[in-house]
Symmetry: C2
Subunit: 267 residues, 2 copies
């Protein structure tokens, strides 16, 4: 019986533990772990502590940012069975596929390069230039974070976008409407990929097999759903898109959405 | 023995038939037909005749352009064995896979949706916004077309780009250098996809299997190679990129580059 994997995730304000997880990037890993049925426990890390966590553990930064500065991100996992740390949700999926070959495969080897291209395509449609999903989601996410993360989140995101969070997509503004159309078009384009060759597919590889590309889509949908809540006009709007496809995807993923209580990070 | 497929392609100035084919989009189909070993004969169609050809044959336009106007493009094939017309190189690849299941598969069904995402990613990296591959290739292509196609090509492309062909990337200009960097970065990004999961691959699906994504890359490379010629500084530059990867790809594709004499279109 393998020891539980340690999964570092970012919390938000929540009344119940199951509502604590929100980040699309860490959801990719939570879905991966849940789909594989691997045992894990969550450690909740506030934004300003991510860098300190990496340094304490002696783990290399995930990436370097545009300025060449190291970039420390979650998800990060520690697998006590192999004593390995792995960050970046796609790298984690590949690591888990390799290390636990008896669990469902998320990135079949022969689709490895196509999956990499998928990630590029996904970025291109969801945030094409100066409009998109992030514009709407950043300010909505900010207000739901714990105070411990809010200052860091505001500072870094306002630097990326070059404006105050409140200016990105004010509710009721034409600007927000424009971003909303980009989001709708982005989902519509993904729906088109899933219908390639005039075949209807709920999942990328067809049939009942969930792969990493599906997880990426589902992670963005749960971010959206958990942000606006299931009785919001936004969620009802999304349910009406693309023949109800995204509601069906959500239903297929619900059984993979368990969130453990976890414990706060102790530095 | 099936009857030869009719393959409508766009010619350019050439001293030998094998140098007549140049268009990356029709090369995707020529590679597809050659790799599958299907018998076909080329009909050479100058740009201004493409629309008339579709109308004469009673074939629906490939697509609608941004203004909603019908968009008539090559490649187009006519398969006398099924009496079907098919346009768009990806649709043709899927049609050939389905109709000739004993030939090498180009888009395995389970990669259909990922292939669609690949095409979006490819577009995003090769022509990201206001710079890229097309800026360099359009004027270089123009001078190599037959006079019968040049007027049409200039008019439509200058409308798309909003400037004279000669202004897109003048030789020796800083502008051209910038476009060149975009091209180099684009190939470098594709090289990154091919190395996903820290595995070295020449082809997308790994191993020796050529799939449609590889054909898309090879079609752009042959456009480049046939445009600048193999003793140009441009081609030697490309051979030096990404550890010589693109030269290796070219060598792997050479055996699939036969071009028949074909015959000119008679309307």
């Amino acid at each position: 019986m393998p020891e539980p994997i340690v999964f570092y995730d970012i919390p938000r304000k929540a009344n119940v533990p199951s509502d604590t997880a929100w980040s699309p990037n860490t959801w990719k890993t939570r879905y991966s772990l849940n789909i594989k049925g691997l045992s894990y426990r969550t450690v909740w890390v506030e934004y300003p502590d991510i860098e300190a966590l990496y340094k304490k553990l002696g783990v290399e930064p995930t990436d370097t940012g545009p300025t060449g500065a190291p970039f420390y991100t979650l998800p990060l996992i520690y697998d006590p069975n192999t004593k390995e740390y792995v960050s970046d949700s796609a790298a984690i999926a590949r690591y888990l596929d390799k290390t636990y070959p008896d669990t469902p495969t998320l990135i079949p080897k022969e689709t490895d390069a196509l999956h990499a291209a998928f990630q590029r395509a996904f970025a291109a449609v969801f945030n094409p230039g100066n409009a998109g999903f992030s514009w709407i989601m950043m300010p909505e996410t900010y207000v739901r974070l714990n105070p411990a993360s809010q200052g860091y989140f505001r500072r870094t995101r306002e630097q990326w976008f070059g404006m105050a969070l409140e200016e990105l997509a004010p509710r009721g503004s034409e600007k927000r409407q424009k971003h909303w159309e980009v989001v709708k078009d982005a989902f519509h384009e993904v729906a088109g990929w899933l219908q390639a060759g005039r075949q209807e597919r709920l999942f990328f590889l067809g049939g009942e097999t969930i792969c990493y590309a599906d997880i990426v889509i589902a992670a963005f949908i749960i971010w959206f759903r958990n942000t606006f809540s299931e009785d919001s006009a936004e969620w009802r709007d999304m349910l009406s898109w693309d023949g109800g496809r995204w509601g069906k995807l959500t239903e297929a993923f619900r059984k993979h959405e368990s969130v453990d209580d976890g414990s706060p990070l102790e530095l």
